[in-house]
Structure formats: C-alpha cells, structure tokens
Symmetry: C2
Subunit: 378 residues, 2 copies
C-alpha cells in the first residue's frame, strides 16, 4: 500500500472514525484504524463493535486531486498515535507506505514516522446491510431529533432497554421516544420513503450521541436503513453503523395524559432562568427539587429551600393560568433539560394534579412534548 | 447592612476574591466571602490563609453610581452559593440586606434569596503591611515574568522551597528564578523604586498563578511590598496578599554554564513543532525523551523511539551550528515548556557536552534564559 493524500482531508476523516474507537476495548485490533487504499480512494474504518464508522476519501472531488494511489492495499494503525501524528505533520500532503510486513512509513516534509501496524485481514468485517427500505431525513433535522430526545435516556443499566431511544416508523412518520421512567421526551417528524415498511427499534443513546457529533449542520439527506439488529446512517462519504438494543420497549402512549386540570402558558426563557436560580440552592438538598405554586392574576411562584444554606422565592408573570390552583414539586434538572430540548419562545405546561405526570410543549406545535413526573413533598 | 449595587461590578469582584477561596479549607469561615459596606463603598475579601484577596468597589467611578449604601455593616456569606447567585440574578441591580442576626436577603427583580451568613467579626484579620519600600512593575510585565518562570517550579513537596519562585531585588532589578532541579527558568526585569532596599524571598508558585489570573493585561503599575513573611500586590481596587515560603533558596548562579562547546541557532517555532511531533511517540516510552543530533551543513536531527509503537526521525535546517558535534537526549516536555516561555522567533541553544546542562535563550536578549539538564541514554 502506498498513497499520497491531502492532510486536511485525512485529519477530518480520522477524527470522524475515531468517534467509534474506544481505548478500553478488550479486542486489541479495535484500538486501531483500518486504512484501505483502492483505485477509488481511501477508506478509514473505526469500531468498538457496538458502533462502526467508515469514512471514504475519494481520489478527487470537484476536480481537485485529494489522493494519489501509488499501490492499493490495507493496514491497521494504532488509532491514537495515528490521529495525533496526522494532526501535527508539517506539510499539506502526507505519504503513507507499508514498507515490509506491517511496518508503515508516514512522511510529510522532513518528518518521518515508522508505525508498527497490524494485519488488516484480522480486522472484523462490518455488518452487511442490504439497502432495502431506505428512508431519508435531512441531516439538521436528524440532529435535532437526537438532541430533543437522547438526554432523557436512562443512564442506569438496571433496565438496559431504557438506555436507548425508541424509534417507531409508520405511515411516513418517525416517532422518537426516550424515558428513564422519571421523565419522557417525544419527538415526531415526517420522513421521505418509498416503502410501506414499519419499524419499532431501540437505538443505544451513546450511538446517537456519537452520530450527532459527526454530522454537519446541512440540509442534505441522510439515508437510514434498519435491519433486525443494526441501523445504518449513510451520508455522502460516511457510513455509521450501530447495533440495536434487544428487547421490547415499554408502551409509553398510555403515560401521556390526554386531558389536564391546570394549564400554564409562560415565556420559556424567563421560566428557565427562574428554575435555574431556584436550583442553585435546591441542588444541595435531596433531589434538586423546586416548588411551583400558582398565585392570583397569572403569577406563578417558584421556590426552593435548603435549610442549611437558605431559601429562594421568585415570582413570574405567566401569559395565562387556566383551571385549578396548583402546588407541585419537581426536579429542577429534569425541567431545565426539557426546556432546553424544546424550541419556541412560549411553552404550555399541562398539569393533572400535583401527583400526576405533567406535559411541557411549545404552543402551536404538536411534533414534540416533554413529560415529567412530579416529586412527592407534601 | 444594606446596599444596592450594579450587578456586573459585584460579579467581577466576587470572581476575583473567589480565586483565594478553597472548598477544602479546614477553617469553616474561610469558605465564605466577607462583605463590608462603608460610606466609601463595598469591600469583598476571600482567603485560604495562604492567599488573601481584597477587592474594593467604590460608590462611584467616573461619575457613574455603582453602589448606594443604605446602612453600613458586614457579613460573611457562603462563597460558592453567593458567587453562583449573583451571576444568575435577573436584573442589573442587586439589593443586599442583613435582616436579622446573620440572615441575609439578596433581591434582584422578583427574585429573592435568603442566605444564612456568618459573623464578620469571626473572619480572620488580613496581614497588616506597612507600605514602605514599595517597588512598581507594569501589570503586563508582571504577568510575563510569572508566565516565564512559574511553570518550572517543583510540584513535589520533598523540597518545599522549590515549589516557589525565588524573587531577588537588587539595584533596581528584579530577578525571578524557578527550578525543580531538572530545569531552571530565569527572568530579569527593571523595576521602579525609590528605595535602596534589597530582598531575597520565595513566593509560592500557586500564589503567582492565581495572581496572574486576576490581573488584566494593562500597562498600569502594580505596587509590590515585601515584608518578612508576606508579599502584597496592589492595584487600583485590588489587594493580593501571599505568604512567603520559609527557608533558603538554593544558590543557582553556579548551575548556569558560562561557556559552551556547541551553539545552535534555530527558528523557535519549527524547532518546537519538531519536538512536539517527536514527543508523540516519546510520551509512551519512559520520561518522554527525544534525541538531538547535529549533522552536516547546519542540519539537526530530532528523533525518538518507542519500540512497541514505532519511531520518528526528522531533520531541521538550523541558522547555524558552531563548535563540536553533539548527540544529546532531553525531556521533550521540558524543552517545549521552555520554548513556550521564551519570546522571540529565533533562539540560541548552548551546549557544554552531552552530560551537562544546556541553555536556551532568545538571540539578542539577555533578560531571560531557560536551562535543562539532559537525560543519560548512552
């Protein structure tokens, strides 16, 4: 294998595939990046066996030569060193050559690195996925879907299925749901597809977080293919594979109350900042709990109390309060994360009493909701 | 005590005095910020008993009212909470009032915090320093002096005196020296003074680091007062006290070789980058050691070898090599830190054989030098 490549393309691709590589893997070859040179270009692969990422660098793009292939071949190089080396090389171009056995020379200007590689034949094969029943989502929308749901997954392994995000595809609609059993995030979006296939799968939260980091903020479409135990996200030069979680995701639709007893419409930013201040003291107490009380004339009071340190009380003028009076306590952390996930300047909070889950939604937008279980304090 | 204050002035002052406050102190009252309101303004104090910082906010500045004093007094408030609260308050002004005993109300807009304070009478007194024999240094120069020396102090407590920077004042000149016994940093500067007093003290490295973070990059003069066991840095609205380290600092002048056998003049940036690359692999081996070899025609070779991973070899064209041929090994970390500390695009490295300390200096600048002990590898 021997090729000369534009360094910035290599750096970018290495950074992408590194997202899949874990230094704590028990499979030594997975600490490496697989590099394959063909007549078409260079393919880099990284994997931790849950996530696999393949990045392709074509020999030319828009009439600009990026790679010159002098001899096809492949090798696995230690990812951490290779990544740091290419970042720090002195010149715009890099030459990479397997010298004998797996010893690989990396040259740039007057700097020359010799790295001990591993046999690419030993590198695990990526999942083979037949590209049937593809559906498509714009990249920026996909990132938004992830951002608005993935934070609500469980971090505890006691119910592993809750560490993933439930994706349901039906009737040209994708529904993403995440819950850790104390709160729930839901987001719907239209998808582009030519098939009638429906799916109900659970994608590890970690995979979605890594995917989101790699994707640019463009409107280009991402192809998504779901198989029995894998999901593939495909962009122009990138393949992102994740395994799916096994097991049945709980049915969450019955958790979402259909009616409400108290509805509050409030400016999202003012409300967020008041919760944020109240949580300064609440954090010290148990559970980071703040209290919300409806007062007269559309005023809501946010308060929290930490006997050792002190207390905080604050009034916010809401747009409107309709229905019953209410005193309710909830986690400031969950509320702040829910508010961050929602878009829109005004939100509607729908309560069904102090002991029942409540809903937070942007007004006039049915595509997303956040649900939080209150905390019993009375 | 009761006053109303512009929030941004308060935030800035709190951030400054927080630099002295440690959450790990064994003296509970030192986890607090002391606030004193007088007719002249507000004084905030933070201390970990090694470092004490006092920040003053005058009632007005440049005809702008900053503080309105309604009732003088003083209180100690929990630093961490107070700091976070003032940062997140909703309005431009803040009202602070002691209600009864030490319970303190902080009001801004419709947000009201009650914080349990402590008796300001219990707060330790700051050192009393007579302002005799003041000398003066511009703020930006002081920050440079610190940056160019403090990184070289020892982090080990086996010789506590080496965790400080040695400051010698004599003949209107300040000499700052730091060493961890493997390398040494020295910087000289002219000072402004009206006294003939000379000093030889050792300032804890940690104090200088914190001082440097607080100081702005201005050319305004800092007043410096040295006493037997304290040093005071004084700017317009800030007092920074540090205790001095006890004991005698080793005499370092005899460590600095007066003559050399090989002199190399090289571009600092190119040299730094080559060392940085070589250290990528050296870091894995013992001690992060790289090797420098002089070749023909002014070429120097930088190399390092980590048998498991691979090796790197690189050539740099120097401006000139004069004197004997040389092979020498040294810590890449020490060399990179020394190069970062020095200013100037071209540096001169003066070697006295492979086993002797060597000097790194900017060409045509006698005010600073870095010294490194080589590593025995042959």
């Amino acid at each position: 294998m021997k090729f000369v490549i534009q360094r910035d393309y290599l750096v970018r691709s290495v950074q992408d595939v590194m997202k899949a590589i874990s230094s704590r893997t028990t499979i030594p070859i997975l600490t490496g990046i697989k590099i394959t040179a063909t007549e078409q270009g260079i393919t880099l692969t990284g994997s931790d066996s849950d996530i696999s990422i393949e990045s392709f660098i074509p020999i030319e793009e828009e009439d600009k030569v990026i790679v010159e292939i002098l001899e096809p071949g492949s090798i696995v190089l230690p990812a951490r060193f290779f990544g740091e080396i290419v970042k720090k090389l002195p010149k715009e171009t890099v030459e990479i050559e397997i010298q004998n056995q797996f010893l690989t020379i990396i040259r740039s200007g007057k700097a020359e690195f010799n790295l001990n590689g591993l046999d690419a034949e030993e590198y695990p094969r990526l999942p083979q996925i037949k590209e049937e029943n593809v559906f498509k989502i714009p990249t920026d929308l996909l990132k938004t879907l992830i951002r608005q749901t993935v934070f609500a997954v469980s971090t505890s392994e006691t119910r592993p299925i809750l560490t993933g995000v439930n994706w349901k595809v039906e009737n040209n609609e994708l529904i993403c749901i995440a819950t850790d059993s104390h709160r729930l995030a839901l987001r719907k979006a239209k998808i582009e597809t030519e098939s009638e296939a429906s799916y109900n799968v659970v994608i590890p939260g970690k995979s979605l977080n890594e995917l989101s980091k790699i994707l640019d903020d463009t409107t280009e479409l991402v192809d998504i293919v779901i198989t029995e135990n894998q999901i593939l996200f495909k962009t122009k030069h990138l393949l992102f594979f994740s395994r799916l979680l096994e097991g049945n995701y709980p049915e969450t639709s019955r958790l979402i109350p259909a009616d409400s007893k108290t509805d509050v419409i409030v400016n999202a930013k003012e409300f967020f900042q008041a919760i944020d201040r109240a949580s300064l003291l609440a954090r010290e107490g148990r559970n980071n709990v703040v209290k919300l009380t409806t007062l007269q004339d559309g005023v809501i009071e946010i308060s929290s109390n930490s006997p050792e340190i002190g207390k905080v009380i604050e009034e916010i003028q809401s747009e409107s309060i309709t229905g019953e009076e209410l005193k309710i306590s909830f986690s400031a952390k969950y509320m702040m994360e829910a508010l961050k996930a929602l878009e829109g300047t005004e939100i509607k909070i729908s309560f069904t009493g102090a002991m029942r889950p409540f809903l937070i939604r942007p007004i006039n937008d049915e595509s997303m909701l956040q649900l939080i279980l209150p905390v019993r304090t009375y």
